[in-house]
Symmetry: C2
Subunit: 202 residues, 2 copies
């Protein structure tokens, strides 16, 4: 299997092996789900030695944890539009596009389902969201500095509030979020933040 | 197996059979997950004839759909406190207690995971939330009538917004919602509704 152009990052053989293995792991998750993920099968699909895969990732949960770490590392960086509302709209758009993307949507669905019954996957998923929230939190912090939001606003809570309705409808009602849903999610989080709902209580 | 006091509703043998079978199905979902749900096993646990279970529910997904219908029917009715904010706080408290309850939390987790890969379960889950949202929507509608929220507010969207952050943190980060999280969820939905975020656009 040859990786798509652009997915092999620099760094020589080790990086190429990682890219091929993570892409194969993602393929299995998307096509067959977490329960069917198997290191030997991933090695075969990635055209990488089985021993290499076992030595480097150790287990299925280790592989999924690395896949999530890679997704966090390679996710789009935050945008800086100069105002917190438009920053949150950009964030909502990114979340919307991720969940609406056929491959990424299926990947997240598989990993979230697996996290429900596997503690290590749950931890890796939590870490993924922590990295993403930390990436976007400065938008809110800058909004506080500029006087757009109350002092003491919990920046992480605001960023999570943007994602919440999009994930909720997607996971419980199977609704793939569209642009109006993304816009409403950002505007709701912004309005609640302006009203002081996310100010940390001492 | 005898059902707990209070779980057997009136209606004679048919209702007793249904209560016993749904309780057994819930037990299997909580203890072993959706993948291990099996009609013969449920019949045995419920001390009900296998033929009765096959004839009445037909399949595992039919059984889960009926379990969700029963959960929707027997869920707590909405509260009417006289103001939309306190109504939403009551709703958030109910959602919080449901997710924090060991049995109900595990049940929802199993069903949401199953809905990710089973269309009929997804439809039953969607129907469950529709029933619950319809139950609570009048709180928002009354708030509009009383002039607490803008005319044209989408009542269902406000009710879903209360649940969203609680489910989001629970499903993606494994955070069991507590009272402050419930209060914040209700206050955020209320503030966004007051700001007009949920007004339907023509």
């Amino acid at each position: 299997m040859s990786a798509d152009p652009g997915t092999v990052r620099p760094g020589g053989r080790t990086a190429r092996v990682r890219a091929a293995v993570l892409r194969a792991a993602g393929d299995v998750l998307v096509e067959e789900g977490f329960d069917r993920l198997d290191l030997a099968d991933v090695a075969r699909r990635a055209e990488v030695g089985k021993t290499t895969v076992y030595r480097r990732w150790g287990s299925v949960t280790g592989l999924v944890a690395d896949l999530l770490a890679d997704m966090a590392e390679t996710s789009s960086p935050r945008e800086e539009t100069g105002a917190v509302l438009t920053d949150l709209l950009a964030n909502a758009g990114l979340v919307q596009r991720t969940l609406a993307d056929v491959r990424q949507g299926a990947l997240f669905r598989a990993v979230i389902a697996a996290a429900a019954c596997d503690a290590r996957t749950a931890q890796a998923l939590r870490r993924f969201y922590e990295v993403r929230v930390a990436e976007w939190a400065p938008c809110v912090e800058q909004g506080v500095t500029r006087g757009e939001l109350p002092v003491g606003t919990d920046a992480g809570a605001v960023v999570r509030a943007v994602s919440a309705p999009l994930y909720y409808e997607w996971l419980t009602a199977g609704v793939v979020p569209d642009n109006p849903a993304a816009e409403r999610a950002a505007r709701a989080a912004h309005a609640a933040a302006v009203a002081g709902v996310y100010v940390r209580t001492p």
